[in-house]
């Protein structure tokens, strides 16, 4: 009986407890860009009765960044404004004086501005029978925003084409338009193409010419190459009379067959005729002008650069993490190194590395810091500068050390002005220290008088949200790595742009989509004379893994900076499942710390194009984990430096090490008896 009564009470109470709702004029609303709207909302019970709500606060739910700015609010006037087209969430929060909150999210549609004008552009000088017609669309909307949509640059075009209705028609059958709006010229004569974008039409007349070419000669500078070698193709177009016709639009393509039956042929061909094969095999390169084609076979053989790499010696640091390092020749002619420490007690260690197989710790300094992230030594081997993070007085800055006698180093001075936010990286060049400040900019400090350093210059990108990770100086040019803003080339004494340490002048920059640009190494190819900046990512895709090895990602971007005004990204070195950190290039060989992927040595000889790892350019690698390391056997190699024929490296978990590339090829006999 009691149970029945209890159930009755529950049912009765449930019947009287009412759900509350926010009702608002934001529901199903559509606004135009720039439109200001006054939201009006109230809270009601399920029976429609009003519920008290002392305040309703609106905000735009977050997008990619923290504060979504697509919808902004004037809180004094109680209005909102639509700023960006698309669908946006606006949250209404009802707040009661007793702290009870009620929220509801309203999806607001903001119209894309209507298209006002479409202009069709023909990027080709001549269209021949058999050619695709590559139209470019210049679209102007009612807010006078102009967009260039290149249908053949599909990645960007897709964004636009997915949001508007596009319809292409031709005036006759001289062209064929497929379902993806590709236009193929099939017959000589004139045709009019009409493009209709959301009801706005525009026409363009095209003239399809009879192909004057009767023969193509496909010419290459080589036909037997190794993987990674770049082959340059050119075409000689001949008409019926045997005359050469220049500047004809050529389309290149290739097919291939790998020598290894379990592997796919792979390569890259560019519009200018440059071809590179990634995998050994037989490749057929084709050139096409209209309906005339020509082909040529290229044999791509294995690059065969693998060599044994041997670990020679170690300077073990296993009571704390190791950060960056620098190897230098001391004033006494012997060879030394300095290593920093990370998340520890502010120590930096000095080593005698004259005999790399017997690396010996010879001195140390301890400063008020938790991390000495970076260490550098002047060209004359006399002054070392180390960075500080986590100082107890929060002043951080840099420390100047006399390393004239590396067995008995002496702290000369500290410098903290404008560097209190922690110095993550430093460089020392011609009596100037370049020190990062607060991850935003770098200061240039004159150290003619090391006991009294003086700030003489500063460089910052000057953009909202600017962020910097590293700076490297070579030949009077500072290369700063600025995450999403990419690399900046700044004249600090080279003369190319009239700059000096006290007047740093930027003259070139390059950024890429991932925004993970963390380190730069400038590099002039010995074999080609081309000048590159190699830009390294730093990415931890899954953040910190407290229970084991951290997952790393990212790669090296090779940017041809030969023309400083028109840098072109041409190649990459990407090691599957492992990410890049610091690196060094000398004599067309790359020495790169791939964090969990170990210390890698890569052949950069010749022209560079495409995916260098796939091309078999890797010479060899070692894993630097140590059974006695801070985390035993956990490879986390931080940086690499070639010095007097040895590859020195630092590992986060094991300290300093030295390795050497052997003349021997790796012994694969135990791996696979059938490998030659």
């Amino acid at each position: 009986m009691k149970k029945v009564f209890f159930v009755f009470l529950v049912i009765v109470n449930l019947g009287f407890s009412q759900d509350k709702f926010i009702v608002s004029n934001l529901k199903d609303i559509t606004l135009d860009i720039g439109q200001v709207f006054k939201p009006e909302s109230r809270v009601i019970n399920s029976d429609g009765s009003e519920v008290e709500c002392s305040r309703i606060i609106y905000y735009n739910k977050k997008g990619v960044f923290s504060s979504a700015k697509s919808i902004t609010f004037d809180r004094e006037k109680g209005t909102l404004k639509a700023n960006d087209p698309g669908n946006h969430d606006v949250v209404a929060v009802c707040i009661n004086t007793n702290g009870k909150r009620l929220t509801k999210t309203f999806n607001i549609n903001v119209n894309y501005p209507k298209i006002k004008k479409v202009k069709l552009l023909n990027g080709q000088r001549n269209i021949y029978v058999g050619n695709y017609v590559k139209l470019i669309y210049e679209i102007t909307d009612e807010l006078d925003n102009k967009r260039i949509v290149d249908y053949w640059n599909y990645d960007k075009a897709l964004r636009y084409f997915s949001n508007v209705e596009v319809d292409l028609k031709s005036s006759n059958d001289r062209v064929k338009i497929d379902l993806s709006n590709n236009i193929l010229a099939v017959e000589e004569g004139n045709s009019t193409i009409t493009a209709n974008f959301d009801g706005i039409s525009e026409k363009i007349d095209i003239k399809i010419q009879k192909n004057p070419i009767s023969k193509l000669n496909l010419i290459s500078d080589s036909s037997n190459v190794k993987t990674g070698d770049v082959v340059n193709f050119k075409v000689k177009a001949i008409d019926k009379k045997g005359n050469e016709i220049k500047n004809m639009p050529v389309e290149y393509s290739f097919t291939g067959k790998s020598f290894d039956k379990s592997s796919s042929a792979s390569g890259l061909i560019l519009e200018d005729g440059r071809f590179v094969g990634d995998v050994a095999g037989k490749y057929i390169i084709s050139a096409k002008i209209g309906n005339i084609t020509s082909s040529k076979v290229v044999n791509v053989f294995p690059r065969n650069v693998n060599r044994e790499i041997n670990n020679i010696g170690n300077g073990l640091v296993n009571d704390k993490h190791t950060s960056d390092f620098w190897v230098f020749e001391g004033v006494d002619g012997r060879d030394y190194a300095v290593t920093g420490t990370w998340g520890a007690d502010g120590k930096a260690y000095f080593w005698d590395v004259t005999n790399p197989s017997k690396i010996k710790k010879i001195d140390s300094v301890q400063v008020d810091a938790r991390t000495v992230n970076d260490v550098k030594v002047s060209q004359d081997g006399k002054i070392c500068v180390i960075s500080r993070e986590g100082a107890s007085n929060r002043k951080n800055g840099i420390i100047m050390i006399d390393v004239t006698n590396p067995k008995d180093v002496k702290i000369i001075s500290e410098y903290t002005k404008n560097l209190t936010g922690g110095v993550h990286n430093v460089f020392i060049d011609n009596n100037h220290v370049y020190a990062l400040s607060n991850g935003e900019k770098y200061y240039i400090i004159n150290i003619d008088d090391t006991s009294n350093p003086k700030q003489v210059g500063m460089f910052e990108v000057g953009k909202e949200g600017q962020s910097i990770h590293d700076v490297w100086i070579e030949n009077g040019i500072a290369y700063s790595s600025n995450w999403r803003d990419g690399v900046y080339l700044v004249d600090v004494g080279n003369g190319i742009a009239g700059g000096s340490p006290s007047n740093p002048v930027p003259f070139g920059d390059y950024s890429y989509d991932s925004g993970a640009h963390h380190a730069t190494f400038p590099y002039k190819s010995k074999s080609t004379g081309k000048f590159y900046t190699v830009l390294g990512d730093e990415i931890f895709p899954k953040g910190v893994n407290p229970n084991g090895t951290n997952e790393t990602a990212g790669f090296l971007h090779f940017v041809d900076f030969t023309d400083t005004k028109n840098p072109v990204e041409v190649a990459k070195y990407e090691l599957p499942t492992h990410g890049s950190h610091n690196f060094w290039i000398e004599d067309d060989i790359l020495y790169v710390a791939m964090y969990t992927g170990g210390l890698r040595v890569v052949d950069l000889s010749g022209d560079l194009l495409g995916d260098l790892y796939k091309q078999g350019r890797e010479i060899g690698y070692i894993l630097t984990g140590n059974p006695n390391g801070y985390i035993p056997n956990d490879t986390m190699v931080w940086g690499a430096q070639l010095y007097k024929g040895h590859i020195f490296y630092s590992d986060f978990n094991s300290g300093l090490g030295a390795a050497k590339v052997s003349a021997n090829k790796p012994d694969n006999s135990k791996a696979n008896q059938y490998i030659e």
Binding site: I57, K62, K320, G343, N438, G439, V544, N550
Partner: protein, 373 residues
């Protein structure tokens, strides 16, 4: 009355006595079995420690790795608990370049959501009325220009707005009614009051003592570059009175402000560099860390007297969390270099440092979570 009845009566009295004794021990043991839980952030280790104190001993229950870059120190600085006890929030001071706030579950200490804030986001608190987090963007090492207080909806972890305040804002604390947020601007020497509902600055107070400033040394033309001699680093509104107390880190004083009159009513001199200041929930005790000499100061707010100066276990005391029953103060102490951070436990009745526990390096932000029987 027959014998059996008498026997029963006597048994009852005997059993009642036993019951009384048992009850006493039961109540006593329950009282002594209280556990206090708190979180502390270690800025130079990128860790947060969950601590448990049983009335005698404090232990580290769990150390939680925080941040996104294993090879960069991201600097967990501010930490606070949601009034419902289900979540804790942590600011990471260093980013590219902006810092972050991360929401964690107290159930399993797993990160749930995050959003990006301004430069060096630091201390924060959640309003029990709005459910919003009010977090100062300290911009500790940036240019001398006004920064802001970010307002974040803890439910969606969206930054609703940034409210411009002074130069180097720090010490975000919410009034007991949840309707006002207070912070101080360290370099411009101002106290800001933000209306938690209007999301705007409602009042601003200059904290410098202009009578004591040598005006001949001031550059009166340089209006934009006011450098406060007070250098306020923290503010705490009194839980029961219309008063607030500010730590004058540069002027070695605690400043009392009458919130009704919006004026300074007292300047309490204290030893070197007070940094954080907190008031016990019962409103009786005020505790301040003295960063300059490694001590913690305790005042009786009924009398206004400084009643104890306690030497901390190591150098650079930082934050304070006081238990909900006002019995204990937990003080984070940064230490230097490779020293571990430490949390000192101070008995506020006995005025004694009764225990300590080592945590990650540079222990800073500290927040009391719950008392559990």
């Amino acid at each position: 009355m027959n014998d059996s009845y008498k026997y029963l009566i006597s048994r009852f009295h005997k059993n009642f006595k036993i019951l009384k004794v048992l009850s006493f021990f039961l109540v006593h043991s329950i009282a002594n079995a209280q556990n206090y839980y708190l979180y502390v952030a270690s800025e130079s280790d990128d860790t947060v420690s969950l601590l448990r104190f049983d009335g005698n001993k404090i232990i580290e229950e769990k150390r939680i790795d925080v941040g996104f870059y294993p090879t960069e120190i991201e600097g967990p600085h501010g930490i606070t608990i949601d009034p419902n006890g289900k979540f804790w929030y942590l600011t990471l001071a260093h980013g590219n370049p902006y810092g972050k706030i991360i929401k964690y579950s107290t159930k399993d200490n797993i990160a749930i959501d995050q959003t990006t804030l301004g430069l060096f986001p630091a201390s924060m608190q959640v309003s029990k009325i709005t459910g919003f987090i009010y977090c100062v963007n300290f911009n500790l090492h940036g240019d001398m220009k006004p920064s802001s207080v970010s307002v974040i909806d803890a439910e969606t972890m969206t930054e609703i707005t940034k409210i411009k305040t002074g130069i180097m804002p720090h010490g975000s604390r919410i009034s007991n009614d949840g309707l006002k947020q207070y912070s101080v601007a360290m370099m411009s020497g101002e106290l800001f009051e933000i209306d938690a509902l209007n999301l705007s600055v409602s009042r601003k107070l200059d904290l410098d003592n202009h009578l004591s400033i040598d005006q001949s040394k001031m550059n009166m033309n340089d209006h934009k570059m006011k450098h406060s001699s007070v250098k306020p680093t923290w503010v705490i509104p009194h839980p029961k009175k219309s008063l607030a107390y500010v730590a004058g880190n540069g002027s070695n004083e605690i400043i009392e402000i009458n919130l009704n009159k919006w004026e300074i009513t007292k300047r309490i001199k204290i030893e070197k560099k007070p940094y954080n200041v907190e008031i016990s929930p019962n409103g009786n005790i005020m505790v301040a860390t003295l960063k300059g000499n490694g001590k913690t100061a305790i005042w009786d707010l009924k009398t206004g007297d400084l009643i104890k100066l306690i030497k901390n276990s190591t150098s650079v005391p930082h934050g304070i969390a006081i238990s909900s029953d006002s019995k204990y103060a937990f003080v984070s102490v940064e230490g230097k270099g490779g020293e571990p951070g430490i949390v000192d436990v101070i008995d506020l009745n006995k005025l004694l440092l009764i225990d300590k526990v080592e945590v990650g390096k540079q222990a800073g932000g500290i927040a009391f979570w719950k008392k559990e029987i």
